[in-house]
């Protein structure tokens, strides 16, 4: 940082302001680290009995690993479906708002998308299992009949529609505003000169976007997707309401599978003793997954930074 050089030149009154500001900024930063640390310590201490318990006493009777891995996979599947659906749509909407739509439409459309983020997850969950799930049943029946040879569409399809695929679709809707809003802001920051240069060289609008906008925005897009992934991994209520839980199965259109967050939410109210420790240990695993995912994201952003137009 070059603040030292700057502050030494500034007047005494400016110096006090600098000090207060840097103190406040430092305090905020430290507070976040302390919070994070406190959460990690809480999870570790509360989860400890799980790791010391006799494997036979853990739910399922085969130890913590056997208990946790199916729901880890379930969590990842749900988040993956959500991102597969939400990323292309989110980027498309963001591009439309930033570069294609007339200003008259772009503003309200962006506002509506942002509004999606303000809907509580329990509402998404209720909508998911009351409206969306029954509506998807005919589609699932069709998939089972025609695409059933692919393991993920193996029949017989659920007659309630409360499946992993439905949960993934609901999650996609929840993740969409995060990806859209962040990407839109980043697309809008593309240097006008880059865009105009591309157009001047004879690029079509689409070529301008692929050559000037997307490379510039790549780290931001990755950030947006990771933030969306964070929401999808940790989403609790919507999944708990929408999914017919069960053991790990490959088919996405039968009832089954479970996510960590939903497992905790569903069992927490009546849990005590070892079961409670187990659920908190599951929370710890989720915490670790998220940390790892975010670290990978940081690594990707760091690697691409030098190629982007950002500097």
């Amino acid at each position: 940082m070059t603040t030292n050089a700057l502050t030494s030149k500034s007047s005494t009154s400016g110096r006090a302001g600098d000090k207060i500001f840097s103190g406040a900024a430092l305090g905020a930063g430290v507070l976040i680290l302390i919070t994070l640390f406190a959460v990690a310590v809480f999870l570790l201490i509360q989860a400890l009995p799980t790791f010391m318990a006799d494997p036979a006493d853990i739910s399922g009777g085969e130890g913590f690993f056997a208990y946790i891995w199916p729901i880890v996979i379930g969590t990842v599947i749900a988040a993956a479906i959500a991102l597969l659906i939400a990323t292309p749509i989110g980027l498309g909407v963001a591009l439309f708002i930033s570069h294609f739509a007339p200003r008259r439409i772009a503003g309200p459309l962006g506002y509506v998308i942002d509004l999606l983020a303000a809907i509580p997850s329990v509402i998404y969950g209720a909508w998911g299992y009351m409206v969306l799930a029954p509506a998807l049943v005919p589609g699932y029946d069709w998939l089972a009949a025609n695409m059933g040879f692919i393991p993920i569409f193996e029949g017989p399809a659920s007659q309630t529609g409360k499946t992993m695929l439905t949960a993934g679709i609901v999650l996609a809707v929840m993740v969409l505003p995060i990806i859209t809003s962040l990407s839109r802001e980043i697309f809008l920051q593309t240097p006008k000169l880059h865009e105009e240069a591309a157009l001047a060289l004879g690029a079509t609008r689409w070529e301008m976007i692929t050559t000037a906008v997307l490379p510039f925005a790549r780290p931001g897009i990755i950030s947006a997707v990771m933030l969306g992934l964070g929401r999808a991994l940790g989403e609790t209520m919507a999944v708990a309401l929408v999914l017919s839980t069960g053991g790990l199965i490959p088919s996405l259109i039968q009832s089954g599978n479970q996510t960590i967050a939903a497992e905790i939410a569903l069992n927490f109210p009546e849990a005590f003793g070892l079961r409670l420790a187990e659920l908190i240990a599951a929370g710890l695993v989720l915490f670790l997954i998220t940390l790892v995912v975010n670290m990978i994201a940081r690594a990707i952003i760091a690697r691409h930074k030098e190629f982007s137009g950002a500097n």
Binding site: I32, T35, L36, V39, G60, Y129, M130, A133, P134, P156, Q159, T160, K162, L182, I186, Q189, P219, G220, S223, M226, L227, L229, G230, R231, L233, G234, E235, T236, M237, A240, L241, L243, S244, T245, G246, G247, Q254, S255, G256, A261, I264, A265, L266, N267, P269, E270, A271, F272, G273, G283, L286, F287, T290, L291, N294, R298, I301, K305, S308, A310
Partner: protein
């Protein structure tokens, strides 16, 4: 630079957001506050605050009881935190609550433990809440079905998969049964409803239902499920051919199964459920004021509906001062009084206790004394 900052903000935010989502349930563990000293007699209005923790099944009944009790004793207050039966018993045994609500009675070893907080006589169980569990289904044109325990067990075990199966048709010669697939819907959260329902299946159709009895649905049966009573009822309601089990007060438009008891089929009703308590036997070796009951799920007495959820209140035999004793007695007796039971069933839709059990329960609660 700007992007960089955005990126790190995004990373930190997402971690924080995830860390926060893990803790969803609020947990008001009110400290056990004792009533202020005062020599009010048991019949006069009492004051103070009583803290209870326990079964969520009693939640709506408890709200009615608390409102009714406060109506009689303006100075008194009762806090009930529906954290679950296990959590309630644990908090009670640790001295964190003056009474517990529980779908299961205190086991002998828990009674032994209760002597630490309750004095040498320990704690005792009083039946407080009875609710019939309906086996409910969604089948167009079929208003009710007669089924025996074995058939119900086979349906929920997914051995019978069509509504026009021979086993169902045989017991319902008049019903027009369609060739629809049966969709079983169970609770995906741990629940006393599940526990009582599978206990019935285990007791009456043990050769079919070979699973352990617990508040969690057996992991080996993969079927549709939903969260909470409202979840299973709503899911079954929107799925033709669905069958589920739920608190009778909540089944709404779903049709219900008449369960075979002895040689007859019993239609679900509050009276038939209360009768199940009459046929229950006291738990062996219990103290004389302990009203823990072993329900006879396999009773053959006509007119009894055996799939009921019985929930207890657990009190200490002694409390440390007269004011607390008065408060506990007043509240406990109100709950098991005819008036208290009626208030609860009006709002929660459960079955009132029978008169003889009400009397026994009142007598048991009357035996609470001040610790010496």
């Amino acid at each position: 630079m700007k992007l960089n900052r955005l990126g790190s903000a995004a990373a930190v935010l997402s971690i924080a957001a995830l860390a926060l989502t893990a803790c969803g349930s609020d947990n008001p563990t009110g400290a056990a506050s004792s009533a202020p000293a005062g020599g009010a007699s048991a019949d006069a209005a009492v004051s103070g605050t009583l803290t209870g923790i326990g079964a969520s099944s009693q939640k709506s009944a408890m709200e009615a009881w608390i409102t009714g009790f406060k109506g009689q004793n303006a100075q008194a207050n009762v806090q009930y935190s529906p954290d679950g039966s296990g959590a309630g018993r644990k908090a009670f045994l640790a001295g964190g609550a003056q009474f517990a609500g529980s779908d299961a009675y205190l086991k002998p070893e828990e009674k032994e433990e209760s002597k630490k907080v309750c004095g040498p006589d320990g704690a005792f169980n009083v039946p407080a809440y009875v609710s019939p569990i309906a086996v409910a289904f969604n089948l167009e044109g079929v208003e009710e079905l007669n089924l025996d325990a074995t058939t119900i067990a086979k349906i929920f075990k997914k051995e019978i998969t069509k509504w026009n199966d021979e086993a169902i048709a045989k017991q319902n010669p008049d019903a027009k049964l369609p060739d629809t697939a049966i969709t079983v819907v169970h609770r995906n959260d741990e629940s006393g409803t599940t526990e009582n329902f599978v206990e019935y299946l285990k007791a009456t159709a043990g050769d079919v239902w070979t699973y352990d009895v617990s508040g969690d649905w057996p992991k080996d049966i993969q079927s549709e499920n939903a969260k909470g009573t409202s979840g299973v009822v709503s899911t079954a309601g929107s799925t033709p051919g669905a069958i589920t089990y739920a608190d009778f007060s909540a089944v709404g438009d779903l049709s219900t199964v008449n369960v075979k008891v002895g040689d007859e089929y019993t239609k679900i009703s509050a009276e038939a459920a209360a009768k199940a308590l009459e046929t229950a036997t006291p738990v062996e070796g219990a103290a004389k004021n302990d009203l823990a009951l072993d329900l006879k799920r396999d009773t053959t007495e006509a007119g009894t509906y055996p799939i009921v959820l019985l929930s207890y209140h657990i009190y200490c035999n002694t409390y440390k001062d007269q004011a607390t004793v008065d408060l506990v007695k007043a509240f406990g007796k109100y709950v098991v009084s005819a008036e208290g039971q009626k208030t609860a069933s009006d709002s929660a839709g459960n079955a009132p206790l029978s008169t003889s059990i009400e009397e026994k329960a009142a007598a048991a609660i009357d035996s609470i004394t001040v610790a010496k």
